[in-house]
Structure formats: structure tokens, C-alpha cells
Symmetry: C2
Subunit: 202 residues, 2 copies
Amino acid sequence: MANSKKQTVKQQKIIQTAIELFAEKGYANTSTAEIAKQAEVAEGTIFKHYGTKDRLLLSIIVPYLKEIFPSMADEVIGEIMGRNIATFDEFLEGFFTNRIQFFNENKEIFQVLVKEFIYNQELRNELFPYFSENVLLRFGKIFDHFQERGELENIPRERVMKMLFTFIGGFFVSRFVILTDYTITEEEIDDAVRFVMNGLRG
Amino acid sequence: MANSKKQTVKQQKIIQTAIELFAEKGYANTSTAEIAKQAEVAEGTIFKHYGTKDRLLLSIIVPYLKEIFPSMADEVIGEIMGRNIATFDEFLEGFFTNRIQFFNENKEIFQVLVKEFIYNQELRNELFPYFSENVLLRFGKIFDHFQERGELENIPRERVMKMLFTFIGGFFVSRFVILTDYTITEEEIDDAVRFVMNGLRG
DNA sequence: TCTGTTAGTGAGTAATTACTCACTTAATTT
DNA sequence: AAATTAAGTGAGTAATTACTCACTAACAGA
């Protein structure tokens, strides 16, 4: 939505096709010739717009991380402050439901992100700042918020958040990247929330 | 140890170098020419022994999965039956300590396995049977064992084991593949065991 | 000592790779 | 309407890719 830098129809087709192929076979196993063919463009068109294959990948990943991620996070925070979400339980359930819907709508791009994040050390180093600034920082604030309200026991924040992220990371990666045809039920969300809540209460 | 099919010195160097390079840059980003150069062999030697690059990868992964994994699992089970491990707490702590040591000793090969498992759909489909037969089945038995003893509450086994594997998977992948220079403290093992135990007790 | 087998070589190959560039076509600006 | 810019093309390229093959060296069994 805010991501409108006057993209051409052909540009859209290139990006869309690249996302599909990168998600399916990985960046390293996808050639620009293949993208061009499937997107019904000349190979030169890709390089006219993106210069290198590497910058094509970045022009998929960076906007996704830079624009959509934080705005969604603020949305979640807004829900807590504005609406009637009082308990950490409720927050977690909202978070899981929200994110599951979001990742379902952007499944392929999420797959690209995770696959390259794990496969490519350099990309990982470049993206870590974004990740820690946006996700870690915001989640830390939320955690503090509920801890001040006495919702969560006074366990050392850092240590417990590590456990929380380990589970959340494992949850989304396994369900959306490894088990690509998996469907998450409401029952499973409840299980996950209960598992985390009990884990944190220790 | 049982893995001695009269490997040549050059064969060992090829395998060792391939593991290093695949772990660092991924299978798809490593050329056979590069492996040959770094292992100080002719490129033809690689193909004399392994035929294709694909079979070189498999000759790294399959023995690791086929021989070392189950034998270690049996070792763990043996510990429970033989030694004085009575509670699921103790088992979990033993499991984490054991596996952390093991993966530290085979860090690179574990990285290769995880990276390709996530990157390559076909490999994933081929390895899933091994995984479910060995890991899932054995873990299920252990879980039953403690559930029969009244150690664990009678929560539906399948649902709770999903949560358990989500956490364990997230734990090992994040610590050994993503944060490659991370050191796991005993304190963190305790945190992890406590997190899981509380989670399961829900 | 002869002989067959295995280990190892390295030059060579067809195919594929990311990328370039001179060019045409379409859209904007003046 | 003329001029400038941007979008798009596709043939071409140097480098790299996985893999082959005719060959030599080492060595074990008869």
C-alpha cells in the first residue's frame, strides 16, 4: 500500500515470479533466465530494473521487513493499549492469530526470508539490526508492560524472552517453511499459548 | 567407528572439506572445483568416488542420520532404563546436555543437514521417513514411559509432543545454525528444561 | 612376475550462469 | 511537435558449472 514506487506491470510480474521461484527452490537454485521466462519478460528487463540478481532479492526482502513488519507490530501494540486486552494470555493469543493470518497471506515471501536468512550468513548479518530493533525491542516493551502490571512474575527478562523467541521461531518456521501444506487449527493456537504461558510462569 | 568402508585419505579430505564448505556457504553455493582445490585433489577424484555432486552430499548426510542418530538415541534410552533417571525433568536435562555436546562435536555437519533440509524440498521428502521413524517414534515411547509412571499429566500425547518438538527444534536450530558462535550455558539448559516442563504440565 | 583392479589425474566439454549493450518502442516534458 | 527520458528487448559474452574420459601409478592376488 505505502509500497507504491510506480511499479510497472512487468516489474510486478518479475517480483511476483521471483518470490514464487525463490520460495520454492531457493535463491541460489533459481536462474534469472528462468524468472524471465516464467514472468514473460526479456532477461534484460530484470537487469534494467534491478541491476543484479542480488538486488532483486533485496528488493523483495527489504520492503517486506522495513515497511510491513514494523507497521504490523505497531498495530499489535495499538490493540493492547487501545482495546481491552488486559492479560498476557490474551495478548499472546491475539499475536498468534494475527501473525498466522499475516504469514498465511504472505507465505511465499516469508519462506524466501527464512530460507535465505538461514542459508546466507551475509544476509543474516545485514538483517540482524532490523530484527533486533523492531522485533526484540518492541516485544521487550510489551513484556515490560505486562510485568509492571504484575501479570508476569519477575523472572529475568532476557533469559525468559530467549525461551519465548525460541518457541515462537520454531513455531512459525516449522509450520510455514518446513511443513508447507500444514493448517494451524484454533486448538493448536490454544495449545501454543498455554505452553508458553506455563513456561513463562515457572 | 562402524562407519569404516576403507576410506582413502583423499576421500576423507574430500568429505571433510565438503562438510566445511557446505556448512559455511551451502550446497548450492559451493562448486566441486572449489572443494577439489581446498581438499588438494583433482576434481575428477571427487567424481570417481561419488559420481555426482548430489551423491557427495548424500554420503555426508545419510551416514550421519542413519548410523549416528539412532545409536545415540538408543544410548539415551539405555540411560533411562539402566541408570537412575526417574523423572522427566532429569531425562530432559540429560537429553539437552547430551545433544548439545553431540552437536557441538558435529556442529558443521548439523548445519549442513539443517540448511539443506530447509532449503531443499526434495531432500526433505526423502529424509522425513527417517526422521519420523527414529526421532518421533523413540521420543513417543519415552513419553509414554513417563506418562505411565504418572510423571506427566494425561494430556493428548500428539498435541503436546508437537509443542515439545517445536521448542526443541527452535532451540537447536537457533543456537547451532543461526547463532553460529553462541555458547550455551548450564543456566540456559535449566531455563529450557523448566520452560518445557511447565509447558507440558499445563 | 604378470595381471587385473582400484585410486587418482587433469585437460576437455556442453550447458548454464549472471550480466551487457546497442537498439527499438512508449511515455513525459518542454 | 520536437526532444528527452524511461521501459523493454534479445542476441551476445566471458566465466563458471557439473561432469567425462583417456590416461598413469600403485598395488594386491595368482
